[in-house]
Each structure stands twice: as C-alpha cells, then as structure tokens.
Symmetry: C2
Subunit: 204 residues, 2 copies
Amino acid sequence: MGLRERKKEKTRLAIMDAALELFLEQGYESTTVEQIAGAVEISPRTFFRYFTNKDHLAMWFHDHGEEIMLETLAERPADEPPFTALMHALRAVLTDVQSSTPDDASRFLKLRKLLDGNPHLVGKSVARGARTERRLAEVIAARRGVDPDEDQLTHLIVAFAMSTMRVGFECPRRDGTMEEIQRRMAESIELAERCLRPGWDLRH
Amino acid sequence: MGLRERKKEKTRLAIMDAALELFLEQGYESTTVEQIAGAVEISPRTFFRYFTNKDHLAMWFHDHGEEIMLETLAERPADEPPFTALMHALRAVLTDVQSSTPDDASRFLKLRKLLDGNPHLVGKSVARGARTERRLAEVIAARRGVDPDEDQLTHLIVAFAMSTMRVGFECPRRDGTMEEIQRRMAESIELAERCLRPGWDLRH
DNA sequence: AACCATGTTGTCACAGTGTGCCATAAGTCA
DNA sequence: TGACTTATGGCACACTGTGACAACATGGTT
C-alpha cells in the first residue's frame, strides 16, 4: 500500500473523527461541512471528495456492514435455510466490529449514540438499509432459485431479517456498550426465530 | 369551510399536480422547485409554505396513510391480536384510496410510478415509514400493556407489519393498476400470516 | 360600510449544500 | 531528474431552505 493510499485513509479517518466530535458536541444539524473541513484543515471542496455528503458520514459502517453480510452469505452452505443464513450474516457484522481496532469500535459506538438523538439520521439509516435489502434480495433469490421480480417470499424473508436487525440494534436503548448491543441483538434473533413457523422460509 | 381554506387546498393540489407532471416528464432530480412554482404561478417561497421540501411532495399519501392506520387501529377491538389489527389497518389504507375521488386515486398511482424509477425516493419513503413505525409502536405497546422502551416484541410486530406492507406495495412491479396493488397486498398479507406462528404476537 | 385582527403571499437577503472546472502541488515510477 | 498520474484548493455557480418584513386578502365586528 503506497504512501498516497495510506495518506488518504488517514485523512478519511481524521475527517470522520473530527466530524463525530463536532456532532456530539454541538449537534448534527448545527455542524456545517465548513466547520468539519476547518477542523481537519482541508478545503470544503475536498471534504466532498471523501464523503458525498454530511449524511454519508453517519452511514460510515453501513457500507462496510453490507459487504460483510454479502460475504458471509456467500460462504454459508447453499442448503441452509435463507433466514438462518441471514441471521448468521447479521451476527457476522457485530463480530467484525468487535474484532476491529478499538478506534473503529469506538467510532461505531459514537455513531450509534449519534443516531439515538436524531430521527432524521435514523431515517437516513433505514433508507440506506433499503439499498442493502435490495442487494440481499438478489442473493437470496438466487439461493432459492427464483426470480426476485416474481417472488414475494424472497422479499419478505429479507425484510423480516432486516427488521430483526433493526429491532436488536435500536431498541431498547440503554447504556450502549458493545456487550449490550450484542446481547440485545442475540435476544432479537432468538425472538424472531420463536415468532416464525419452522420451515417458513423454505416454501416456494 | 371558509373560502380561505378552500383556496389553500386548491393551491396545494395544483402544486401537487404540476409537480407530478414535471417529475414524470423530465425526471425528479432535474425538476427544480422554481420550475414547479413557475408552473403554478406562485413564488418559490410560497412552495415551501405548502411543502417543507421537494421530497415532501412524494410523501403525499404517507401522512394520510399514517392517520388512517392510527384511526383504524383505535377502532379495532382491544382483544384482537396486534398483528391482525395491523393487517386491518393496512387494508384500510388501500380501501381509503379506492373510495377517494378519481383524481386522488390517480395521484396515488402516479406517485407509485414515480417511486419505481427513483431509488432515492424509495429511500425517503422507507425513512418516512420509520416515523410511522414509531407511532404504531406506541399504540401497539399500549394495547399490549407494555413499555415500548422495554419490549422488543412490540417493535418486531410493527416492523413485520410494515415489512408486509412494503412487500405488497413494492414488489413485484407489473402494470400498476389499483386492482393489482390490492391483489398483491392481499397476497402479501396472506403470505405473512402463513409464515408466522399462530399466536406469536400474543406472548409477553 | 368601515374597521381591525389574522392569515397568506411575494420580495429580499442569506446560510448552507453540492458540483464542474482548472491550475497547482504532491506522489509515483522510469 | 523528468514525465506521469492523482489529490487538492480555489473559484464560480445552481439549488435548497429559512427568516424578516411589507403588501394584500379574508372573516368577523361594530
């Protein structure tokens, strides 16, 4: 990895950290791109070369999480029930965060805290989730051997999986430690599995 | 209803229709507020007094749909299982559109067509749905006699209900007549009910 | 009818977002 | 070193969204 790339990554993280600090200190809405750029000593123009917009900052781990889910899904056995495979993919995202650097984990928790007080960002977050849902639906449709444009059950499986994830991630809000999030997510997955009929995701 | 209110409503619909026409003709992104305002012969400033932003236009029926759902929910018997009640609320939204004026139904279908080709708007739509989900969760928590901040199942019930709605509404896309939407929605509801364990939404 | 309180509109100024363009500086490789 | 690629900064610009104020329309009152 060349100097150029390392420097870019460093700048990217510097922007991220400066932005998070400003957001948590003075609020998301009242923080401008100009302020963030100023704190990292780059021009506002350059900011937009790293992040397409301010919201994109808050979606930091969504891109990564989506990739983890898709990778995990690809590795799961083909005969595993789709929802089960999705639950594994979901757990993999959390595992990945935990096994990352302390700095990354800290950013993850700060972002979560940021979402807590900003319905607007929660909205953005679920909107980003809709994109993930589309991509997951493609994969699940392939696994099930159906056309994603024809099969409602495929979309229902993915939507239920994402719902399970959101419920585990968002609700209820307590201290917000990594351990708690993992515990809540496990609870949510277990709960969802108790709600669904055995074999519900195998029919077609 | 005074002249003043009638005039406002007329302007509101005029903006809506002009905007829809422009969107479908030249695309959503490439239509500016200035153009819409020009087509209705109002100032751009006035546009923002009717709709908080351009996206708000595309969320036209969300506000109304949310109210219908909440009203329907309030009328459902208290001992009805939560998910069943939510499915009734969901059907009520479509019934309401069908029993409205032909103009309103036409706007509804145009909006749906608009969403089809704009992932950005689909994102906005599900973000708006997240707000509805929060409000529904309050009601369902009250029905179940639990604290919405403590009970994951409440949120799972609502999230599954909204998922069912989205799947029925969005997928798969065909001719897009009112009849088809209703049929797809009925299919989706039936499918969801087959996927879930009987009595899953009664536990606590 | 004249009057006033209230609501609606247009105009202006302004802050902020996001993009295209081009010159310049920095990293890369021969 | 010199030739190249890529990142950056600065500039102008279009668009969004809001606050403030003046002009006007409406509805009710005397």
